[in-house]
């Protein structure tokens, strides 16, 4: 993907005009009203995903990357509430998912058919008392008026497509009869059985062995080419992003701190947080005995967060009076490369 095609920052108002953008988030905020205060898990996130593109979302645990994914499908657990705009282009028109009732018919229609999601935990992603095939068939039966037999045929097809041997037999297997890697393949099959335009993958390989991880990533890339879909890849693993993604979004404490093409950000990380993340990746050629750098402190909990840069408390380049004065604006430093830091203002 070239610089020209890089994601543009979302326009301040109005639905996306670019035909190529299939999903666009504009100032999405998902807050949890708790007794202790307001937990701002996602606080004004904007980005766009284009057709056939892979967008990587990276950040530490608790940065809001998973909640962002859940917000898109409106499956945020209670008492979370999502505001802002989530524009989905479907059938030539644009729907704002954020305006839909979270258990209503319209959003249910989108789930699984337009946007599907796979999760981190293949062990618990399937009901233990229903066969894997039953749960894949359900996705078909909920969205299309086809016979059970047809749905079963589709389930078998998609299971063999994700590389599960003897799919005719495995379709009746209970989840515990499959290995972790097989279960993750089955979950991908379940997500892809309706050929969605966008697949949200929330840490899909984190719970797997390293060798299986590589297989699953390869499988996702192959299927993306085959089916022509966009992928939103949520991970804390920068290596995976470098491998898989065209565009990337770096999140910290519920906000996007840097976004742009993978080449641009890996080539020249601009936000001090992104820089620190890059420093913490193990590299071949690192001098023996040299320690990997780590980021001092831990991610704060975004409970009633102050109006300042979220990284201020841990930032090595902290400037008193500026970083803690307000939330920095998103600045375009080069075409398609945006950073939220006062150093570039």
């Amino acid at each position: 993907m070239t610089e020209e095609q890089a994601a543009v920052a979302a326009p301040e108002s109005g639905a996306p005009t670019d035909e190529d953008v299939i999903l666009e988030l504009n100032d999405v905020r998902t807050y949890f009203e708790l007794e202790e205060g307001t937990l701002k898990a996602v606080d004004g996130v904007s980005f766009a995903i284009r057709r056939n593109e892979t967008l990587g979302i990276v950040g530490e645990s608790g940065c809001g990357k998973s909640v962002t994914g859940q917000s898109i499908l409106r499956i945020v657990p209670k008492p979370g509430d999502t505001q802002g705009n989530i524009w989905l282009r479907r059938n030539g028109e644009t729907v704002d998912l954020a305006s839909l009732h979270p258990s209503g018919r319209e959003i249910r229609d989108v789930r699984g058919r337009d946007i599907a999601m796979i999760f981190q935990e293949p062990m618990t992603a399937f009901s233990p008392v229903h066969s894997v095939g039953n749960q894949i068939m359900e996705a078909v039966l909920v969205h299309e008026s086809v016979s059970k037999q047809d749905a079963r045929t589709r389930a078998i097809e998609v299971l063999s497509q994700v590389g599960i041997p003897e799919a005719e037999r495995r379709v009746d297997a209970l989840p515990h009869e499959l290995s972790g890697g097989m279960r993750q393949r089955a979950m991908i099959a379940m997500a892809l059985v309706l050929r969605p335009k966008l697949l949200i993958a929330d840490e899909p390989t984190t719970a797997l062995d390293v060798t299986i991880q590589a297989q699953i990533l390869r499988l996702m890339q192959d299927l993306q080419k085959e089916m022509g879909m966009s992928i939103m890849f949520i991970t804390h693993n920068l290596g995976v992003i470098a491998n898989m993604a065209d565009q990337m979004v770096v999140m910290y404490l519920g906000r996007v701190v840097e976004q742009g093409s993978v080449e641009a950000i890996f080539g020249e990380p601009q936000h001090p947080y992104t820089q620190a993340l890059m420093e913490s990746i193990p590299r071949i050629g690192l001098t023996r005995g040299e320690r990997l750098s780590s980021i001092a402190g831990t991610v704060p909990v975004p409970l009633n967060p102050p109006e300042e840069c979220g990284f201020a408390s841990r930032c090595p380049k902290f400037i008193p009076g500026r970083c803690d004065a307000k939330v920095p604006d998103m600045i375009e430093t080069s075409p398609g490369h945006h950073v939220r830091c006062v150093l570039y203002e």
């Binding site: 989108v110 699984g112 999760f119 618990t124 008392v129 229903h130 749960q135 969205h143």
Partner: protein, 336 residues
Amino acid sequence: MRAYLVRRFLFMVVGWWLLSVVVFIVIQLPPGDFLTNYIAGQEQAGTFLEREEIEALKLYYGLDRTPIEQYLFWAGRFVIGDLGRSFGSWRAAEQPVTKILAEVLPFTIILSTLALIFTYVVAIPIGIYSATHQYRPGDYFFTAVGFIGLAVPNFMLALLLMFMLFRYFGITAGGLFAPEYALAPWSVDKVLDMLKHLIVPVVVLGTAGTAGTMRVMRGVLLDELGKQYVITARARGVSERRLLFKYPVRLALNPIVSGTAYILPGIFGGNAIVAIVLSLPMTGPVLLTALRAQDMFLAGSIVMVEGALVIFGTFLSDILLALVDPRIRQERAVAA
């Protein structure tokens, strides 16, 4: 599945055997044996037994043998339906235990089954409602009602319901039939009258287990509702209602089904006071008088029969569990 059923069936048989040993020990526990009590009772009543008669009885009850032989003797006769004789604690008549049980056992079993069904019919929907409406007014309301139901003694509830039914609906709730039907031959009206009289005992006996079952259903369902497979199903567009009943409710039923074994003894045990208050022909009062009079064959038989029924109920719930949960059919680990 077949191996599972065979194994469970064997467990049941072993359970019955262990129960019989315990019951036999209980029967043997009081000082003196059955015969000395019997003779004393007869003498009190003014009848003196002949030596030959005593010897015949000794032979009949096998009292001249070792305890193990006596156990085998007793258990063997139990199996063929000879439960020994009651020496008259119940209705002051020396009679076979089977005759007394025939009077009270069928009704006890019917009523206990109805009470169990009542418990489930009331507790499961409320548990589901409470879990899906956690910390909302409805949840608090049912929780409060449930705990009150748990705390109010059975007999109190029985009296209250009897009073209200009589006061507001003109139904006399005591006994099994209204006086005009008591001696009448069986007819549709008589059956209807009996059903009317069953309402109060079923509600009273069923309420005791309801609160607990409700709380279990609520708690387990709350756990299940947050699980990943529910979120996954939601993410593929399944509606909330379908989702709820197909996945978490079904899984939450497991502990309820296997909990039958804990509810049944409560129902059997709770029937003494209720039966006395409502003057119903149930095993509870019989057991009570039998224990007080050391009428051990009668008491032991009731404990044995009811215990055997509880074990049988557990066997049934095992079958049900296998139908609900395919993992159990396969005899695999249920973990995770």
